[in-house]
Symmetry: D2
Subunit: 359 residues, 4 copies
């Protein structure tokens, strides 16, 4: 249940609602926006007296709340995720990312324009990064991806250049005017990564690393949260809810394929995520066809399919020489392949009444 206050409501009105909730054994989650204040009614005290567990809420409570001073509306949210639900926030959320390479200096994710994010899987060397950045920017990518902290299934695998990699990414931003997206893996790194990155990325293995979600939720940076390897939409939206409930509303969902029995691809892209999440939620949805397929030869078709189905942005791995990549070369497309993809993308976006932002 969500209580929406009138725009003319005072602090005292809000306090009144919170006290009412407390008196009925519930707790309120305050979300003070620029235009309106909403209070999430988030649960009851548990049977054994322990704090915070979610109990059922009596419907009559809703009616009583509607009668309190300066309450505009009480919205019943039927889903376990509240702030992430379309019911709570009927308009599309548009996440703004500062990006010097476009007119106005802001890229908007979740609006009419499709956004291309591209770059190497992993930052390896300055030359590799700069070559790739120059090439993808030239074709129209406006956000640069690159991993500095890399999860590796084996402790003996390459785990990234760390802060050195972040510095190279910042250098590329200075040079090409592209915003930077990069992964953060543990709460204690969040502050440091925030110094360099424009968008934080939560990887698939960390979708349910709740302390990390809490920590990025306390920043105001845009956060891309990748779907867990075998997570359902509901679990994924609940992970997004962790971030939202800490006050960070700049959350972007990223479909990167799920684990299935198919062995010919690394993962199976769940293309239904794009149209369906736009119905369940107001958050922008991003497609990662590189992780989603693990195969360079079909990254292009899956990119087109994602956009045809409603993806707001693409995250594509590009490498100047993928066969020598330190990580995931098989799924990185070459620069010529990227050059071929962009005009196809413009055509498909056009076919469904959208366009691709490139400048």
């Amino acid at each position: 249940m969500i209580v929406v206050m009138k725009s003319t409501s005072s602090d005292a009105d809000v306090q009144h609602v919170l006290s009412f909730l407390q008196n009925h054994g519930l707790s309120g989650h305050l979300s003070q926006g620029v235009e309106r204040t909403v209070i999430g009614v988030l649960g009851a005290v548990g049977p054994s007296g322990a704090p915070g567990s979610l109990g059922g809420i009596n419907p009559s409570i809703g009616e009583a709340l509607e009668g309190l001073p300066n309450v505009e509306d009480v919205v019943r949210v039927s889903k376990p995720y509240k702030l992430a639900s379309r019911e709570f926030h009927p308009e599309d959320t548009i996440v703004e990312v500062p990006s010097a390479c476009v007119e106005g200096g802001i890229v908007r994710i979740g609006g009419k324009e499709v956004v291309m994010m591209a770059g190497p899987c992993t930052v390896e060397t300055e030359k590799q990064l700069m070559t790739t950045a120059a090439a993808v920017r030239k074709e129209g990518a406006v956000i640069l991806r690159g991993g500095a902290f890399k999860p590796s299934t084996s402790p003996y695998g390459f785990r990234g250049l760390g802060e050195e990699g972040l510095k190279l990414l910042a250098k590329a931003r200075d040079e090409f005017g592209m915003a930077i997206i990069t992964e953060v893996m543990t709460p204690s790194d969040v502050a440091m990564v925030c110094e360099y990155a424009d968008i934080l990325q939560i990887g698939t293995r960390n979708m349910q690393n709740y302390m990390l979600l809490d920590e990025v939720g306390r920043t105001r940076k845009p956060v891309v949260i990748k779907r867990g390897m075998s997570a359902t939409f509901e679990e994924w939206l609940l992970a997004a809810e962790y971030i939202l409930s800490q006050g960070n509303r700049n959350v972007i969902l990223c479909e990167r394929g799920i684990r299935t029995f198919e062995k010919a691809t690394r993962n199976t892209m769940d293309i239904s995520a794009f149209p369906l999440l736009k119905r369940l939620s107001h958050l922008p949805v991003l497609s990662d066809p590189s992780q989603g397929t693990g195969r360079r030869d079909i990254v292009g078709p899956l990119s087109l399919a994602s956009v045809a189905a409603g993806a707001d942005a693409l995250l594509v791995e590009v490498h100047p020489n993928p066969d020598e990549a330190l990580k995931d070369g098989a799924q990185s497309i070459t620069i010529p392949q990227f050059r071929e993809l962009m005009p196809q993308l413009h055509a498909v976006a056009g076919a469904i009444g959208r366009s691709v932002i490139t400048k």
Copy 2:
């Protein structure tokens, strides 16, 4: 290994190859086409003397075969499926279906034009079928779908009208000039269904019903083989190989979603099937977004995504009043939804350089 005979080869040449194979403990699978004869080298006699098990083949055998009279080429096929593989048949297979409603009277599946197949999940009544057929034909569908024999998870569910349903389908064909696709569930029904249908459909539960595959393989009707609920591409292509190896080359693969942990959709469409199967195989690939999602509200976007990724045809469930459908109403789109979908489909097909055949 596949032995391709020269077009000038005689029966004696072919016999020569077969004898050579037998003398080396192998068996040959003869495929006598109009233009050329090919012999699949299909395996060795097993260690215990039992016939037919697949043993390893000595590479020197290949060289010796190349030297036999009127052998044009010896193709090594690395996949377990042979006749279905792109290595064996580098050009796209185009399956021709007689359909009076198009110019020339033939619909070609697997060529440049995208083909729309639509109609009710299940034939319920003459009125329901005719209303739907009229509506989908008007918007450009050229093939009519409709189930007369229906698999039902429960023995108490509706199992279809049987031959009565086939007769109604034939009537719709007469009236609208559309070709008919309908399911056949058991070997003893194949002859009867062939009397009415232009395309036979093998359902997901029967993908590995080998006696049924053998039986439709002995006909020359086009056969759509749906992917098993949790089958891999390799298992699916091996099922197609059953049909092909009986001599029926008119095989179409149909992606209809696989079982995953996601509960918000009935199945998860594996969109990578379209570009990837076109690489692994020469067979046309069809998309069934109705079964693939189970949700009317996203059938449209998934149709567009399928075509963007390379699907050769679509199979869409349409019902004049889906909420009253006897079966699978939740996944059938309405006639107005179908009307909306077609122009979008033309646009997306155009964006990737294809068109949709409608007349």
Copy 3:
């Protein structure tokens, strides 16, 4: 809903109930047992007038039925499967199989005694079958398994000796007094397989081959129905319901592992099937650890685990020389391994208060 008639009820009473149902748009499924007659209330006529679809049943119908003459009880069955449910049949079903090698000539599956079925995956030669049968009988197996019709993923794989294999099985039965279990793959083979087999086996790929289920349902032979590769318990019990609803009550469920992401084993045995199916259903439950693991080295431990969890019987592949087996040698245990397993099995069965029948 199930109507239980009093033991003193007459044919006229039964007819009365059936007419009542018909008058209310329902159909009755008659099950005339030795001690009592029950009538399954199995569904309503569909909205469009088509026969047989399952509609909701008004609860007031139940009350009215209770008032009819000589109706003892009306049982509401909440599950979609009815005759297979524990609610319908609270006592354990015990399936009797004639087997000359045991005292009294009858093996009972589903009672206190655990039953060992063993033999080769596939009947290859008379020598292989007789050697294996002699060995497993000596150690206490009372039922002999062996495939004459074999599903093969590839059309070029070994598909079994067919009727020749059945004849060898019959010969082994004559020699060792063991009952025979063997697979039947298509409806037109059912009559022939029934001539030789004591238990029919429906393989995992055919769990939803409904015409085959109907056909074995029309016999009175015991039928083992294997779980589909990724079927749920509910789908599996509905498949059993197909057989039961044709009047054959001799149904045994067989857990043979499900498909998961684990690659180190061929399938993943779902051991919870044993205790849970005994709660959901009254049917006996069999364990196939050979298919369930695909690895000879852990067939033993999984056999013990199955019995510890409540399996009523085991189906184990044994081969005199597994590395030369025509099919599935990797999952067949050797004769010495079988010899080692049997005393462990006696010990574990004893630990949970059961015994293993051997003579």
Copy 4:
């Protein structure tokens, strides 16, 4: 590749090996045990000059290493996990946990005796914890489980009592002499949890939280690492390798069920984990049938099955009043159910030649 030094080797000999590796572009991972020193040869410098990526190792390197002074043996480990593999460490690892309630004060996990760990899912109140601890100790449990930090799919769910919960656990240890196992969720909590716990638990969602694995690897506390929800054995053993490669050898694997399509149980226990991991690895393997089934009514049978298949220990959720539990009540057994389970467990352990340690 693993280099085993002679017991008489000096620091200089070790240094010699490390230098040799460095000169050949490899790195060495030093593991200085009490009795012998081993050096894991862990990878090459990547093609682009970045450090640490795993390259192929020339076999001739192995031969050269064998010739260096005081090298006893060079072991080629074929698996991607090295220190976790049975090849590297042929004897069973036995993890010792101080536990005042048993003779000698040490519980050994991985030896002949089966170990019962039991207690509430979540520490709720002192009374709940003490009641449960007293009851399970009385029946023979020697280790007490209880969550103080709880992962919750929803941010509005109960997340545990935190350090307050740890203090209650410590109090229970003082009172009943049982060792304590409890979960740690983030690197910054490791030091604090170590102050209270005898065994650290890594939950299923954190199996690939690599910074957390590194951090617990730097302690010398026993660590139970649960299998990820859809992890393979290989991924799981690689996660264990993270801990081992930091020098902590006290690692215990815990099978807690994997995600499958079955809806009747929360997860599907993969019982093959017990015999198979004992072949692949030397680490002890623990079974969690509570998480593994999610159903109180089958926790008992799955406990017995786990032990029959070779589990070294059990982790069972017990609650004095499960229907009022704050978390996961459905999978907690009652105290009377626990009382019933223990003698059955003794019987099954006895049947396979093991016993259950209780004092």
